[in-house]
């Protein structure tokens, strides 16, 4: 590739821009409509312009409970994130060794990924019902979410370890490090940036999961379920205000994460490795 940008570049850049615009289409619509006037609805035309609905978001709604469900989703997302991180890293380490039955575990993980969410939801709902356990977001809901986030976590770990230079570990071992020390002081620091990726995936997938939570959340709703429930009664742009706020939050969080990555890379510069560069 030469230094000059060819025609191809501009064509592709234009295509990419269009793609991004397409991705942002709904977000832009939401953004505009969240500034509806106090009498505005969920659709065009605009009925005045105001920030009324952002304030309304913080008031009590006629039905439902935004903040209760939001805090549940947040807590659930964070638990799922931590568990995904720990379990994926452990499984990823295991898969580096050729243990018996590894292909069974592998195909099971893939199955977990490709089995339609509604089936998982149905199955967990059924089994809890049959053995007479209460479904609750923190038990059945948590399990349902993990079946969705773990395959992603594991796949990322595969990608990471496929690029991992084993000579660092060997060097550590030669220097007399125990297996745990090797993992703690050599492997984990090198793969750390990718772990942020796993964590982000875990949180995002859980936070917005609808189908798998549908029959597994029990009597308290998570945020996506609550929003779905509210669509049966709320006809105001307060939902859009929530959307706009979420997007703004996302920008902030991603900026923080980018900062974190930059920090880690600076630290990692001491080790002089670029392992894990492909992911993030």
């Amino acid at each position: 590739m030469g230094d000059k940008r060819g025609r191809g570049f501009y064509f592709l850049a234009a295509f990419f821009t269009l793609f991004v615009l397409f991705l942002y289409g709904p977000v832009i619509t939401i953004g505009i409509l969240s500034f509806q006037g106090p009498k505005g609805g969920l659709t065009f035309p605009m009925n005045g312009v105001s920030v009324h609905w952002f304030w309304n978001l913080f008031e009590q709604q006629a039905v439902g409970d935004f903040w209760g469900s939001f805090s549940r989703s947040l807590v659930l997302g964070l638990i799922v994130m931590m568990l995904t991180l720990v379990i994926s890293v452990m499984a990823g380490l295991a898969f580096r060794k050729n243990f018996r039955g590894s292909s069974v575990v592998f195909y099971l993980t893939i199955a977990s990924l490709i089995i339609p969410s509604i089936l998982i939801s149905l199955g967990i709902g059924l089994i809890f019902n049959i053995v007479d356990l209460d479904v609750h977001w923190s038990t059945s809901g948590l399990g349902a979410h993990l079946t969705w986030t773990l395959p992603f976590g594991l796949l990322i770990m595969f990608a990471v370890f496929n690029r991992f230079d084993k000579s660092y570990e060997e060097a550590a071992r030669d220097l007399g490090a125990t297996p745990w020390q090797t993992i703690r002081h050599v492997v984990l620091p090198i793969i750390a940036p990718s772990l942020i990726g796993v964590a982000l995936f875990g949180f995002t997938l859980s936070y917005d999961e609808f189908a798998r939570t549908l029959l597994t959340a029990g009597s308290d709703n998570t945020l996506p379920l609550e929003i779905f429930g509210m669509t049966t009664n709320v006809t105001t742009p307060v939902l859009y205000a929530l959307g706009t706020l979420t997007t703004t939050f996302s920008f902030v969080i991603i900026a923080l994460c980018l900062g974190g990555v930059a920090l880690l890379r600076r630290r990692r510069a001491k080790f002089g490795s670029d392992a894990g560069d492909g992911m993030a």
């Binding site: 570049f9 592709l12 295991a94 509604i118 939902l239 979420t246």
Partner: protein, 284 residues
């Protein structure tokens, strides 16, 4: 390999296996068992009946629905492959620094942080008769009457699918492209290949694993969807997922379970075939 390694590996894999057993294997087995049970208006009970399967497999509506669903899968797949490949190609070969690549990826992911349901509702003001798209097209004079097919149609369903799942195609393709040895491309160019020839003879064949992985995502996600089809078709079209969701909401769990088993077998067969062409573990 020392024996302790095996034990260590088993210890490390145990949490994963526990979760998958409890929340994947057991539930799926339950579905299979319940699919033979009987039901009434309010409950389901142990029984051995083939009625659930009999109705599901003989009803015309099942076949129609599978046909519609496969149509959605095929169209979504075509669009996501083309878009996914192009975007990944741009990111992998035209964006030079890693920081920029990461930044552009993040830009693409931000819309997904807003609740899917809110985004789904917002397609209505975007595509509707008085929506942004129609108003914009009328304003530039491209049309003089609002386009009706933009919303509540197959077009709308496919559009939403592509919107939701294009990124699932971009990421794996990008991943494989990054693994292509740049010297191969240079070698091709040195041997006198045009960019187009390099693309078709070097890059596309080498990106196939990524395309396959992306395809697996798209196919399974579309096959199991029920909410997108409901919102975007204005409930006018059914997918297999919606059929199951309907049966669930009517408390016909055994019937839903039977439909679920059939869907599961269909999806596993499709993916089984696709997996023959790619070794996922190696290609990541």
């Amino acid at each position: 390999m020392p024996r302790t390694d095996g034990v260590g590996a088993w210890l490390q894999i145990t949490p994963l296996m526990t979760v998958l057993t409890l929340f994947l294997v057991v539930p799926i087995v339950t579905i299979a068992v319940v699919s033979f049970w009987g039901y009434n208006e309010w409950s389901f009970f142990p029984d051995f009946t083939l009625e659930n399967y009999e109705y599901h497999l003989t009803a015309k509506v099942t076949w129609q629905t599978y046909l519609t669903t496969v149509k959605y899968v095929a169209l979504t797949w075509i669009f996501t492959v083309v878009i996914g490949f192009t975007v990944a190609y741009f990111l992998a070969f035209h964006v030079r620094s890693l920081t920029w690549q990461i930044a552009l990826f993040l830009v693409c992911t931000i819309p997904f942080w807003t609740s899917n349901i809110i985004r789904m509702i917002s397609w209505i003001p975007f595509l509707g008769r008085e929506g942004l798209a129609n108003n914009a097209l009328i304003a530039v004079g491209a049309i003089d009457k609002p386009l009706e097919f933009l919303l509540f149609s197959d077009f709308a369903v496919i559009l939403a699918f592509v919107h939701l799942y294009a990124l699932f195609m971009v990421v794996p393709i990008f991943n494989t492209m990054m693994r292509i040895d740049k010297s191969l491309i240079e070698a091709a160019r040195d041997a006198g290949a045009s960019s187009f020839q390099t693309l078709t003879n070097v890059i596309i064949p080498l990106s196939k694993p990524g395309i396959m992985i992306g395809s697996i995502f798209v196919v399974t996600l579309v096959m199991g969807d029920f909410i997108t089809v409901r919102f975007m078709s204005g409930s006018q079209s059914a997918s297999v997922g919606r059929l199951i969701q309907n049966e669930i909401s009517l408390l016909q769990y055994p019937a839903a379970a039977a439909s679920a088993v059939v869907l599961l077998i269909t999806v596993l067969l499709m993916i089984g075939i696709m997996m023959r062409f790619v070794n996922i573990r190696k290609e990541l």
